[in-house]
Symmetry: C2
Subunit: 386 residues, 2 copies
């Protein structure tokens, strides 16, 4: 936004392009990188002089889409649905997405309170088959709950099966979860998960590249997976058949230098065959959340006393500062109690607590939250850190 | 044997020591290496001057056992039970056992027709929990049958659970299997496997370090595992709890530079927990026999046309030569048909066929056996190779 509260020209151009260029289109990404968003918009919408790397037919298709784009309307509809648009350069933009190069999203549409950038810092993807077995659902719920209890954010795709189980496991443990959709974030897909996705937007984050109201397609599902892989420190595949979408996420993660993990299952199960294929390659076998955290956690995770100093408190947003101030200095407190003390809702308190966790201020112990030793020391002798 | 058909002094000394020194005792192994078997026997039985590396109490215990040893009787009892004693230097001694260094067996007692040396050349250990699940038993049977069908010898410990399933899988596929026991080979253990072990002695091999009539102990079970690991090209663990005996076999195999493999199972199963622990280390995940063979097979296994020339036929024993002569030159034949043609029993034919397989003369295709291209070429233009 500029000082008058209007979206600036670059932001509006990205909203425009998000309607015209498909997610992950690296030719479009290259145009943006080499010429800037304003020039690309001008070519698509104005005189129409063709940009390189596409056929005339394809260019005509893009021009037709450009003719229908209404970025101001998209932003208004989004705002009314409680959706914000975050793009590269914004404070909330997660840096790890830049690893996608020219396949980097033009921007992300986001529903939910927490800072995506903060949450992505300590996040793990838990993904897998839509038609999973009971075993797969059990493992997804258990892993996600265990990750949430260790202060990690669980990212998945909002689909039936393993994805849904992972989100539910995190939510059920009073934890943090992010659904990355292959459609407009105001248009939950699949329809049977409308309630779940709305709940995720309340307690966590629902994000996606597609503008409001846009629908998912097969290629959008596949390309959505690269965002899940890039956002997180690692991807755990719970169940996956040969050549399945979850394997695409895992292989994207591997290419991006993220940790790739797989949950073993019976050798007789076709829904574990894809995972076993991964595990015969570079992926690491994991059977519980502790093993996942051992891999994706930094040194501080395993040896908290070696963690560096926490970031300055004056960089925190007011909401996060209030929650930090509400933590008792010596004992753990439940999120509800902290919310009351900070005069906010439990969902908002959870959003802030996971942000503070990512910054090293707080730790989760089972159901309770407490200040880290560093947070206490940094304000001197156990007094309240605010 | 010497020229008069009597056991030579060295052989008799090893039979004697097998009664006195426990399997895998590296101090005893060092004595034998540094002083020779005759000198060690002289010390234990004769003047009794103590050898280094043991306490006086331990020495007295060894002397007492030496006083009770009757090697001529052991050999006679063995001979009557159809058991032979094979020791380092014998044509049938499997060279890979020498990798055990001072823990190398003093000798092996063997029941069964085939040459242990030949069979060990292309063998894989399939081991696991005694109290296995139905899934574990299913995987052991399937893997062993698949290995047998690919011409590999299945080695295991003759125990209940995975071991028994592995032996049965190989036998059921008309294949080759070796049981390595932690007791006298004339004294099948466990008792409930008497029939199975006798069947293995008919169609395959039953081997062990302990003299006739000797009983198993906990440490003998553990030390038996090093023989399984050393004999084979690799060890597959099917199911194993944390800190179980099968893991000992797998870790021995790893130390000896053999391939170590594990069959995944549900992360919720305690009987897969030990396997998963292995798979988080250096072991390779396998789900079927093809994956096992891919790992333990030499280049020739995957690309038969690159295999080198077969060994000269005049080095074969007469029994193996007869079976080789009985193979039709162009089409595969069943073991029964080959046995009839060679005027021998099906069990003997199987014993010889797996020896010939190890030497590159024959291949197994499903239920049939045929000459390899090299065997045919080596006798010229498809004529019978004898």
């Amino acid at each position: 936004m500029n000082s008058a509260g209007e979206p600036d020209r670059d932001r509006l151009a990205r909203v425009f392009l998000a309607r015209v260029i498909e997610p992950g289109d690296e030719v479009g990404g290259q145009w943006v990188r080499e010429r800037g968003v304003l020039e690309v918009v001008r070519r698509l919408r104005g005189d129409g002089e063709m940009l390189p790397g596409v056929s005339a037919r394809r260019w005509a298709g893009l021009r037709a889409r450009a003719g229908r784009a209404e970025p101001e309307r998209d932003l208004r509809v989004a705002r009314e649905a409680g959706v914000r648009f975050v793009c590269p350069g914004d404070a909330e933009w997660p840096g790890p997405l830049d690893d996608l190069g020219d396949g980097r999203p033009l921007g992300l549409w986001i529903r939910g309170r927490p800072s995506l950038r903060m949450w992505a810092l300590r996040s793990v993807a838990v993904v897998g088959a839509r038609a999973c077995t009971e075993y797969g659902a059990h493992m997804a719920v258990t892993l996600a709950a265990g990750l949430a209890e260790r202060g990690w954010v669980v990212v998945s795709g909002g689909a039936y099966g393993v994805d849904g189980a992972a989100h539910r496991g995190a939510l059920g443990a009073g934890g943090a979860t992010v659904a990355v959709l292959a459609c407009g974030v105001d248009r939950p897909y699949p329809p049977g998960h409308t309630e779940l996705i709305n709940r995720i937007a309340e307690q966590g984050l629902v994000v996606g590249e597609l503008p409001p109201g846009d629908h998912p397609t097969q290629s959008r599902f596949v390309l959505r997976n690269r965002v899940i892989a890039a956002l997180t420190r690692g991807t755990v595949v719970v169940e996956a058949a040969h050549r399945s979408g979850s394997l695409v996420t895992a292989l994207s993660a591997q290419r991006l230098g993220r940790h790739t993990m797989g949950v073993p299952g019976p050798a007789t199960s076709g829904l574990s065959a894809g995972v076993h294929e991964l595990l015969r390659g570079e992926a690491v076998l994991v059977t519980d959340a502790a093993e996942v955290v051992e891999l994706v956690g930094d040194m501080g995770e395993l040896a908290p006393e070696r963690r560096g100093p926490v970031l300055p408190r004056d960089l925190l947003e007011p909401g996060a500062r209030r929650v930090l101030a509400a933590l008792p200095s010596r004992r753990p407190a439940a999120a509800d109690e902290i919310a009351r003390e900070a005069r906010t809702t439990p969902d908002d308190a959870i959003a802030r607590l996971y942000e503070l966790r990512a910054l090293g201020y707080v730790e989760r112990h089972g159901d309770g939250w407490k200040l880290t030793r560093q947070a206490v020391v940094s304000v001197g002798g156990g007094r309240r850190p605010c």
